[in-house]
Amino acid sequence: MARDITFTFNGHRMAARVEDYWTLLHFIREELGYTGTKEGCGGGECGACTVIVDGAAVNSCLYLAVELDGRSLVTIEGLAAADGTLHPLQKAFVDHGGIQCGFCSPGMILSAKALFDENPNASDEDIKAAIAGNLCRCTGYVQIIDSIKSVRREVEEGPRVVAWRGDDTER
């Protein structure tokens, strides 16, 4: 059974018809065509599919698309500015060697963004807890944590962020 939903996608209002049994991951990649969000395990264990719904990092492989109705969704594609300027987190990952193959990176960056949006003064322990659900097979995590830490001060000053809070959404 299919139903109509409305939601904001990286700050833009959208409407779509979704099947009850679609995961959010399937919807984002196969229906909307945004392939930055990855499928690693399909079972909520690797975090490659992490997206941000209503400010909370979730595994899109275990989130039903129909539940997006009335909510805001942020994927990795929503971070860079319209002119292509990288979000401070993206730039930090590039600058500090936080990206090798890149497969875990969208999920890692979004987990970090969700953390800083809620707690700009996150401690080192907070950062590790925030990415505990994101597996990386390349880097050994040190450069990832360094990348995230390097942004910490910047976030306090106010980064360039694509507005996602969606004050215009209706529930």
Binding site: L62, A129, A130, N134
Partner: protein, 294 residues
């Protein structure tokens, strides 16, 4: 994944009548982090999922200041419990448990009720709730009933929920004065694993701040269901809480355990760690009991 219809009831009664009218072919889903995994593995193939996410229910722990009872809505996410300062300050044993479940991504959607109903022997949330003498409030076609959480788990994957019934909330009775508790999830990794062993200790101490008035020692993964080590608890009551008495309590609790070899750990080690961790959590519980402002 198996195709299904998704229904969104707005009330408990609507959910129950949807469930009953589908004659066993429907399954409730709350956060979905257990149900969807099982469906992807082919272990569950319902025609219909009935969402419990849109039923108007409390979204934060509620303390009734007159009766001292704490109410935790079953549909609350682990994350919302983790971030509750009420739970963090007054019921740290519960905070200890929920903050280490899965990952942030999982805790943001997985519900405390769903975890309890899933009824794995390792359920981190269950241990502190049993230690706190929690009761499950269950609503079904025949109305409400209350079940002690200590009796709620019937076996691995089995709990006292029948048919279309829904676990709606957990009720924690008033804490005795000078009560403190602590929980540890023991395993090899810092995150993202089921525990090898879960140990929760709750102590209420006498006004002398040394003698045990009440004790709860709850263990997870030390038996087919979460359980209380009642002999160890009885041993402690009336005795001063010291390293020696806690070591002895730990030894007794280890003896009461029915540990086994499994993929996550071996029996002899689990039994050994029951003793070690009962003592360690007992000492932390004592500190918290002394520090509690009641």
């Amino acid at each position: 994944m198996h195709k299904f219809t998704y229904l969104v009831p707005r009330s408990l009664n609507e959910a129950i009548s949807m469930h009953e009218s589908r004659d066993g072919r429907a399954k409730y889903i709350a956060g979905g982090t257990d149900v969807l995994v099982k469906m992807k593995e082919g272990k569950l193939v319902p025609d219909c999922l009935i969402s419990l996410k849109h039923i108007i229910a409390q979204d934060r722990p509620f303390l009734n200041t007159e009766t001292g009872e704490l109410f935790i809505g079953a549909f609350m996410t682990h994350r919302s419990i983790e971030r509750s300062s009420l739970v963090q300050h007054r019921y740290p044993i519960l905070h200890d448990a929920v903050r280490n479940i899965g990952s942030v991504q999982i805790r943001n959607v997985a519900t405390i009720g769903g975890n309890l109903v899933n009824a794995v022997p390792s359920a981190d949330g269950a241990i502190p709730l049993i230690a706190l003498d929690g009761k499950a409030h269950i609503y079904g076609p025949k109305g409400y009933r209350l079940v002690d959480l200590a009796r709620f788990f019937l076996g691995p994957g089995q709990c006292d929920i029948q048919g279309a019934e829904i676990l709606t909330e957990i009720i924690i009775p008033r804490l005795a004065p000078r009560t403190g508790g602590a929980y540890i999830k023991h395993g090899r990794r810092e995150a993202m694993e089921l525990p090898m062993l879960g140990v929760g200790v709750l102590l209420s101490i006498e006004p002398d701040l040394a003698t045990c008035a009440e004790a709860r020692i709850c263990l997870g993964v030390a038996a087919p269901t979460p359980f209380r080590a009642r002999e160890a608890e009885k041993y402690l009551v009336g005795k001063p809480v010291t390293e020696d008495t806690l070591s002895e309590a730990g030894r007794i609790a280890a003896g009461e355990s029915r540990v086994r070899d499994s993929i996550r750990g071996v029996a002899w080690y689990r039994r050994e760690m029951v003793g070690v961790l009962v003592k360690r959590m007992g000492l932390l519980a004592l500190e918290r009991a002394k520090g509690s402002n009641e």
